[in-house]
């Protein structure tokens, strides 16, 4: 009996991780999200003054995935979206928002909150105006969906 209880290695294993009830965050995500829009298209759209289309293109191809996956694509997409959002002026905002549908509004709200995490000169003020307008359009449900969705943008 002394022989088979000699090694106490088994005490170092975390048995809980092998429990089959454990929540797996990434169920069914074999395909990587589309690479996203490339910067040149967005810049050309912005220079042409067509912010609405640039925004819609970015929102349609947003790389949403659970936390920790595809961070690089997400960061690049975030920079582009912030550039577009900050260059739109107030009068155009209402127009753009009324042309978006529900899912796009949710993704836009997610980007607004991510934009708040990195405040730069004057950005937060514009983001606050965006936030208010999107809230008026999307309601409390839009914000709750940002909080509870496991797929982060």
């Amino acid at each position: 009996m002394a022989k088979n209880t000699f090694s106490s290695e088994f005490r170092n294993i975390d048995v809980d991780q092998y429990n089959e009830d454990n929540y797996k965050d990434d169920d069914g995500e074999p395909q990587s999200p589309p690479i996203g829009v490339d910067e040149a298209t967005i810049v050309s759209l912005m220079n042409a003054g067509n912010h609405a289309d640039a925004l819609k293109l970015l929102l349609a191809n947003a790389p949403v995935a659970s936390k920790g996956k595809n961070e690089q694509a997400k960061d690049m997409a975030l920079n582009l979206v912030l550039k577009v959002l900050l260059s739109v002026n107030k009068s155009q905002m209402d127009q753009i928002i009324s042309s978006l549908d529900k899912t796009q509004l949710d993704v836009l709200m997610k980007y607004i909150y991510r934009g708040f995490e990195r405040p730069s000169e004057g950005s937060s003020a514009i983001l606050l105006i965006w936030h208010e307008k999107v809230y008026n359009a999307g309601g409390v449900g839009c914000i709750v969906r940002v909080l509870t969705d496991r797929k982060r943008v």
Binding site: Y23, D25, Y113, F116, E117, P119, S120, S124, A125, L128, H131, V146, L147, T148, D149, R152
Partner: protein, 149 residues
Amino acid sequence: MCLHNFNSQVVERHNKPEVEVRSSKELLMTAVVVSRNEKEKVLIEPSINSIRISISIKQADDIERILCHKFMRFMMMRAENFIILRRKPVQGYDISFLITNFHTEQMFKHKLVDFVIHFMEEIDKEISEMKLAVNARARECAMEYLKRF
């Protein structure tokens, strides 16, 4: 603010605020920041049975930094009387609130929200008032002292 009673999945017969324990990913929701500029922001971390709200207050110069720090310490030492105040602020912020499902069961949710908003509005006013008082007192002392010379 939708908080439900949720017993701990890890230890039986225990009931812990999941946002503090952070043991299971599926119980935590996306943390959200709302900022007015680089200095002032609010971090909201929700979970199934608790919410943690952390506030970063604008501190423009050394005097405001000291006043803010002492004022927050004063309140955090009396956290029991505030009920929803946390004794230590979250790393990177000045003050934190922890609201659990038990609090929402005993108190009105809209009143809790009003309290936090009122708190944020009053803080800035209080700190500016204190700074003015400190400067006024320093000026008086200096004048009295220097009258001798």
